[in-house]
Symmetry: C3
Subunit: 365 residues, 3 copies
């Protein structure tokens, strides 16, 4: 009798969640909220909003030592919009944009196997080119008024044929490989399928992604080159960038070049920036970016633009910081595409400019 | 080589979730399910449903001691519908009602800074007026057949211009301040922006919230007064209430006055109630509420109403309880707005009544 | 003063999450991703997709000892789609199909009370018939190319009157009872309400579920019989099945009979299968299923079919495994309903066949 009782319990556990194989899971995240005030061609707006210093998130991850240097692990990480409690979106085909609103592990959702050969991640993960846009290579990373996304992401809704490129940050259905570090050189390559439902055959490669990155670091110097291509039936998307930075005493000097091609359109950006540690707890950040646009229809309202940003981060601890930023963004010619802080574009006059300031708190856990 | 390897890992960790700043996160929640039987103008219904004693939820929170009495913390809390596994909704503009279905931290989503000055919470939080409707000030709080929401919330879908007030419980995009306790007196004030996307300038104040509460407690006596106003282009919404309760031996005697104005419509309610500890594990709850309605179009079917409720809670432990409630609700005149237990309003005849009973289990974790 | 301060804190805690009743919550889950290649009537497709060995999931559960052998507990478990970070769906009425995309505890969402009387679960849970389709009774359970769902679930979208049966795996709004084990005999019965919003009276029983299962286990022998019925206004749905398996040394021999009736349509399946432990870490699985269909309109394209599957699981640990499967599926006569691996049905010719292979990794936590 006892044996069957055990079997029944074991089967129930298997169905219900592998209860017999319990491991330690880490919960982690960031809550970043602040006050944002923008002026777009003179029209003023104010918000209590998120992600002004670091992207808010909530995640679960864990690892298992398999012996012999082999490790299995998982990583489920969702974007958070802490001012209203919703989450961020994802893409299921690397072509669609899916925003369920409820908690979605769209930042990263992977199962990994790692060892002396490096690390393989299966699932949704960052594309190699995105790594060069983070705060390690751009003074503001992809957050706040000075965020790299403004001028280093492809332009949504302006592409040929109506397809918006979705793989500038992450790709779903991917195999992502990171090599070990060979004397300062590291390689990352990624491939992703499109997984279009019920008509996988018919759509061919529409939404398939492939990209790579090579980086070199030695003492104070870091350089990295990355490129990625997504096939779209309406026109392929290619993102490329090159980052170089040098630690000079308390200052990290940064240069970043980036290019986005969607169909026949192209934007190219160059940034010079700095992160300067003024005290044990304080850091000044500054950056100046110049963007060149070509191939857009006149009606798209896309033209050259420049953006200047300065900010200050005051660390209350390793996990918690107060911060403030100020930015000026100028469109040139017919341009009315770029505004600071996700402000109201409809207020923008052609060639108009926008300014903004913000301050807030970022708490990591 | 080693230095760069470390830098690469640190940058990856920063991108991927602040792994280097790990802290302890608390998971908490409530699962409350039971059987509900209602009769609306004689039409009977039965459900296995939720939140009959306490609102089901799932949340994550944590705090960090910053030294010098200062503390940073976060709180992400979602409503749960445990009978089907979905979550509850939120509002992103304090005007819209968003119900993603998936886990949404719509109950509370805040980052906090607290110290000798009190506590500041940024994000989505309870409005000051809601505090007076909880189980501390109403015998049934806002759950089950006797819930305060029935007669102390604004009426959805009956307002002028089609805007339903969304801030009777919580507001998004908020700054919420709680003072320290000064000899029994505590003050809470809250301000929230509307954050309407892409046209912040054009919509002006539509959805902006401001409110406050002052409470006094001394020995067995507690009194509290609160009010809040939300600006809506279709007619402002004002909620005010006053709670007074007195602990007389094992009985807590309760009085609650509340008013909701949406545009030109108004409902005013008065309750007398009691929570009586009959044994170490048992509590009887009872309440009688009278509602007055004015300013509604005849077609809205809103008129005066009364509700009587009696219930019993049997605590199996501090965390788990069994409970049962019974209620009678009478509409007056042309009224066909109010029914017990979220029953089928379409069955209600003008001036009709409904009755219901329920029993279930509530488990906190 | 002190007393009130405490009361205020206690009330706030109650509102905010039962902070005073903190317990230990277990996080658990599965991440299963792999490569799938299918050929449907010669049209080839490839995906990096999920759940090829075990259903991916993320869950939270915990229990409280109430003394006297009584235990209260909860279980919130969501399906995960780890290749893109979304979750799976649920049903709120046992008639609708709800797929919020964000984290939804549609796999199981229950509060439980257990003791010497057995266990009662309230909420969304597995129906008794589903238990016989799991990996304990079918060599592949309900995952991957050989999954039981293919031929033991009702056919979606082919039913009379347009209602797809939703209760073949789980039912919402349920009371689910499991008896203690009496000399190897165990009984499970379940009842679920339909909870249709705002018109509970009018729709009567549409969506109500009732089912049961009786199982017997003694030494190497396990047998189980289950049946369940869901009332639908468009035609009731009945699922029945019988499982028998026998552990013969390292081999578990399996037989499974199952039947689905939706309105006037019926499918009946018979499987013979085996799970064979070839080494301490390796298991071979194989199965052959024959399906008979009747009562379908010719336009539905449903006819008899057979499926053969063989697979291998290599356990890296108790929690992590690599696996591979191969399957051939043949439709008969006019049939173009069944394909392996959720491939593109539109490519299928009448009476056509499909083949597929897959390999991947499953990590439990």
């Amino acid at each position: 009798m006892k044996k069957f009782a055990f079997a029944a319990v074991a089967a129930a556990a298997l169905v219900a969640g592998q209860a017999q194989a319990q491991s330690s899971v880490t919960i982690f995240g960031v809550a970043d909220i602040g006050y944002l005030s923008t002026s777009v061609s003179g029209v003023k707006q104010q918000q209590i909003t998120n992600d002004l210093n670091t992207s808010s998130r909530l995640g679960f991850r864990g690892a298992e030592d398999l012996g012999g240097g082999l490790k299995a692990s998982f990583w489920f990480e969702a974007a958070m919009t802490p001012q209203n409690g919703t989450s961020g979106g994802t893409s299921t085909t690397n072509k669609d944009s899916v925003n369920p609103g409820g908690l979605t592990f769209g930042r990263r959702s992977t199962v990994e196997l790692s060892g002396s050969f490096g690390e393989v991640r299966l699932g949704r993960d960052y594309t190699p080119t995105f790594t060069n846009l983070t705060v390690a290579h751009h003074p503001f990373g992809t957050n706040g008024l000075g965020n790299a996304g403004q001028m280093y992401y492809p332009l949504k809704g302006t592409s040929v044929g109506g397809t918006s490129a979705q793989t500038n940050v992450r790709a779903s259905n991917g195999i992502n490989y990171f090599s070990p570090n060979f004397s300062g050189v590291q390689v990352n390559v990624m491939y992703a399928t499109n997984n279009q439902a019920d008509n996988l055959g018919a759509v061919g490669d529409d939404g398939k992604y492939m990209g790579g990155r090579i980086s070199y670091g030695n003492g104070p110097l870091n350089v990295a080159l990355a490129t990625g291509k997504t096939k779209y039936a309406t026109g392929d998307y290619t993102q490329s960038n090159f980052a170089a930075n040098y630690q000079l005493g308390a200052a990290k000097l940064m240069y970043l070049w980036g290019e986005n091609k969607v169909g026949v359109t192209k934007t190219t950006s160059n940034l010079v920036g700095v992160q300067y540690q003024v005290s044990e707890t304080g850091e000044i950040r500054a950056g100046y970016t110049m963007l060149k646009a070509s191939g857009f229809a006149a009606s798209a309202g896309v033209d050259d633009a420049t953006q200047a940003v300065i900010g200050y981060v005051h660390n209350l601890s390793k996990r918690t910081a107060l911060f403030t930023n100020y930015s000026v963004l100028d469109n040139k010619g017919l341009g009315k595409q770029f505004v600071v802080g996700g402000g109201d574009k409809s207020a923008l006059t052609a060639g108009g400019s926008s300014t903004g300031y913000e301050f807030g708190i970022r708490h990591s856990f």
